[in-house]
Symmetry: C2
Subunit: 587 residues, 2 copies
């Protein structure tokens, strides 16, 4: 990294460089003035090197140095010498620089927060001065990690003959579930481009074009409300392959994850387990369970039959389910804690009527909220079925299948956190397969795509499509890491007749089909290969590797939860001229 | 490239694979039916393999095969056998497949144009069916070439410690010369994001953030009128480095070009020549001359003094220039051809009053349009000065400096093409340095940035800034390849006081400075390192490598010259709902 202004970076000098004349540049991390001498920590992206100024060698230089403020940018020329008191924490900790010259390249105001990993700045303040926030090594390292992940991805895909191809960002609005951002056209006033929610259709057209293997690491745009950890622009590793079956894709991208794990974490990731959607939902109440801990929901339908507890009877009669959840080590939960979880499952979006508990005492006896309805033997049978030991707690949930799954999945995750069951050093990566093709809107009963309308049905199930569309499985898969969906994909429809039929099931009229997807349907008439692919959410994946809490941690200049870039102050109003030019008016 | 549907691609089987049982997938390139047998050329991205169907082996299969239309997608299983008549043009030309099964994966309508390199489709038609156009090997190869160039760039920059960092695309409108595309915000109605014209300011902030070395291969957006070969979205290789001088950047990116040339073309590109802006303009009348041929403009100011030709006298009196241009081998130009070039330099945007010629006859005598004013000795002296030989033609241009440069540069290029002087096998790559910092608007006389307002002045010239601002050189450089500017960059201002002064020279008020660039000026107060960088136009660079005529040749889904994507039919009108949502109205 030698340049005209420096011979070395602040991270590379060691005992092997003794007596060399060097020139370093960087930021003043801090100055410790000890009266007759002062130590200056000089920082750049590569590390920290100590510069020692001594009155007995150069009193002028010492005077200049002690007055330097934090974050001044300076250049120092001098000689590498051995330190008297070494710092084994630092790669450069054996040496220091005895300076001959000191040049201030830029002065600095006192930064609004501490430029260290442990900082006193609020997130809002750090975002406003993001260029200072990035100076904190943990933020810079996240950005470096991101670039390394991207590099590993490219290495792997390039090696398999994937062609990185850019698709356009000024495209046509095509409804893919979320709202499009639109861009008024000046040359065609009154019309708009849309920013892509994903390159889905374009990559399918690249397959029709015979490109065979495509990838792109690209920005996607969704104008959503910012519930959860979302950004209006986010980055996707977007891939597509021709002449493949689902198995080809699962293996290819398992290989990619293994390559990333090996390169980034030096971990040999084993073959990814494959769970069916039904298995995930029935055992963990989620299609993206965090399997760094177990705690499955155990079906108690059979065992419970003899217990004349009204909630159970209601659940059984209404074809609902009754499941147990063994919270390891939760036997000592207080009444208050149990009430908290009861309230948790009763929250309106979960909607259970209550929560039954069985506390397994140290002596093996059981105390339960259904003591009055169940015999000790029945309680023991439940505990045994749930694999509960002394000191554990079993929670029982009973209601309709969808409510129990939702509440049980959420409760499982909540208990996992509370009981510290999540092993932070463990990586849980697996595939979920056999998603249903369709689901029904709970309010209207209308049939909707679970993923998107381009997913190929599992032809084994296609015969049920008219009688029971939601029973048709899709050739569709997700990859889940530590409880987050990091990839989603499918085999796509490549036949016009099938695509047309799917659009019809989704309620599109002939006009809508033609207007929205006419070019795709037409493309399928000119020889489309069987194809499929997937997309990884890069931000989320890197966040998990970085151990971050939000994807903002791994984005150089993120928007806040309100969609604003507080550093740039965007979005902002624009001149009337600019609006006139594109023929629009603010209402 | 083995998958569940194929054992090999159509490009890999050779004589070494004889007797293997294989399964191939691809598109029917053509079927030659010879009565008792037919040959089918099966095509994919990797190549073409011949399948031979014979009635004496399998009459049914032969019947199916001969009915296949062009561009049907099929799968064939069979045995690799040696061909009777080999095709040395084809890597797979020694073998063919004796098929056992044939499966139609997709049928195809007759394509609207011939899917071969030499096609009968107009550009408009090919753009409408771009997914068919890409099937033509030369288009697919351009996209593959593009991905290889990008890969070589990344290899090189990764190796030098550059961190690939994504900057946001929904940013704030900051005037950089062209018009911004704007994106209405739904969450903040009445306000707009802007799509970046380049990540200029954001990459400078990454330097302030200490990232030291940054690159990004990113889309940029300019809402310009489509004169010339432009696209509303284009791709830039965007780079920035800290603690550098101009020399560091010139060497780093010379190295990058050498790496690309070596990797892609297997050519050792020598050290890049460096021409000053003045040299370029005075010798070639352009800051991006095509130096695959010479033909410099030769100053004739001294020699011409004795010739009493009114145009020369006017030019000399008005401090204009008189230059000669030796058109090698043009001595046989007809009167009509000379008139054509005379009209060419007289076109309004060039504005010369005429063109003088000296025809060097085979016997060395000279016929000239100024025979009446100049002695044969004077004409010989001009010819000698211009290095003209028998059979050449010297054109003389006389007018103001700017008109002569413009017209002379254009004429030089036109003659180079006409006379076939441009060696298509030669690569001309060089740097232009020492650009002026400012230029004056010809109409208003106002001072404007030649590049952009963030360019560092050459401090040697800074003393002239008040007396003669256009005499101040900038630390600014372009890279020119075969007559196209493929890269532009500069050392940036990193001091608030200098940046502030430059904004003032450009006529910005304090309010405008604050509103448009407040966050940049503020960032410079917290310790900004000296930094600089550049951006390469990827589309143009790849186009030159591909030997293409327009950047549309190397873009998967380009817009037409009217800014439309005719395949997607974008831009298009959007629902009133979508407009209401973002609070705008079409006027």
């Amino acid at each position: 990294m030698k340049t005209g202004l420096r011979t070395h970076t602040c991270g590379e000098l060691t005992i092997n460089d003794l007596n060399k004349n060097v020139r370093l540049c960087g930021w003043v991390q801090k100055v410790r003035d000890l009266g007759k001498f002062c130590f200056l920590d000089l920082r750049d992206r590569y590390g920290i090197t100590q510069i020692s100024f001594r009155t007995d060698r150069n009193a002028d230089l010492y005077e200049q140095a002690r007055k330097l403020g934090r974050e001044f940018v300076i250049s120092v020329e001098g000689t590498v010498i051995e330190r008297e008191s070494k710092n084994p924490q630092l790669p450069t900790g054996d040496i220091e620089i005895m300076p001959e010259t000191l040049t201030i390249l830029s002065s600095a105001q006192l930064p609004p927060f501490l430029i260290e990993n442990e900082t006193d700045g609020s997130e809002e303040l750090r975002m406003q001065y993001r260029y200072l926030d990035i100076r904190r090594p943990m933020v810079a390292n996240n950005l470096i990690l991101r670039s390394q992940v991207v590099k590993a991805v490219r290495e792997y895909l390039d090696g398999l003959g994937f062609i990185e191809t850019e698709t356009p960002n000024l495209i046509k609005s095509t409804p893919e579930g979320a709202r499009d951002f639109i861009v008024p056209s000046r040359l065609h006033p009154g019309t708009f481009y849309a920013l892509p929610q994903s390159p889905q259709i374009l990559k399918q057209l690249l397959m029709v074009a015979g490109m065979d293997r495509y990838y792109q690491i690209c920005k996607c745009y969704r104008d959503e409300d910012f519930r959860g950890d979302r950004q209006p622009e986010f980055t996707q590793i977007d891939c597509e392959m021709s002449f493949v079956e689902q198995e080809d894709i699962l293996q290819t991208f398992e290989g990619m994850m293994q390559h990333i794990f090996k390169t980034i974490l030096h971990i040999d990731l084993p073959t990814l387990p494959r769970l069916t959607y039904d298995e995930c939902m029935s055992k963990y109440g989620s299609d993206k369970p965090d399997l760094r801990f177990e705690m499955p929901m155990v079906d108690l339908g059979e065992i419970i039959k003899g217990i004349e507890f009204p909630v159970f009877q209601q659940a059984l009669e209404s074809k609902g389910v009754i499941v147990g959840l063994c919270a390891t080590g939760a036997g000592n939960f207080s009444r208050k804690q149990i009430d908290k979880y009861t309230d948790f499952v009763k929250e309106p979006h979960r909607g259970l009527k209550g929560l039954i508990y069985l506390k397994i005492n140290d002596d093996g006896s059981i105390k339960s909220s259904i003591d009055k309805f169940a015999t000790p033997e029945q309680l023991q049978a439940i505990a045994q079925k749930c694999n509960a030991q002394a000191g554990d707690m079993v929670f029982i949930l009973a209601d309709t299948k969808s409510k129990v799954r939702k509440a049980g999945g959420d409760l499982r995750l909540e208990l996992g956190k509370e009981l510290n069951l999540i092993n932070k050093n463990k990586w849980s990566v697996f595939y979920v397969i056999d998603f249903p093709l369709f689901e029904r809107d709970e309010e209207t009963g209308a049939v909707m795509s679970v993923h998107h309308p381009f997913v190929m049905p599992n032809m084994d199930d296609w015969k049920h499509v008219d009688s029971d569309p939601t029973a048709v499985r899709a050739l569709c898969y997700d990859m889940v890491m530590n409880g987050s969906e990091i990839m989603s994909g499918s085999i796509r429809i490549h036949r016009r007749d099938v695509q047309d039929k799917i659009f019809s099931y989704l309620g599109l009229t002939e006009e809508e089909k033609q207007e929205k997807f006419g070019f795709l349907l037409q493309a399928f008439e000119f020889g489309a290969p069987p194809h499929g692919g997937c997309a990884f959410g890069l931000d989320r994946m890197v966040m998990l590797f970085a151990g971050g809490e939000t994807i903002r941690d791994v984005i150089a200049f993120p928007k806040n939860s309100n969609g604003r870039d507080v550093m740039l102050d965007a979005p902002a109003s624009v001149d009337q001229d600019a609006l006139d030019m594109v023929g629009i008016k603010v209402k």
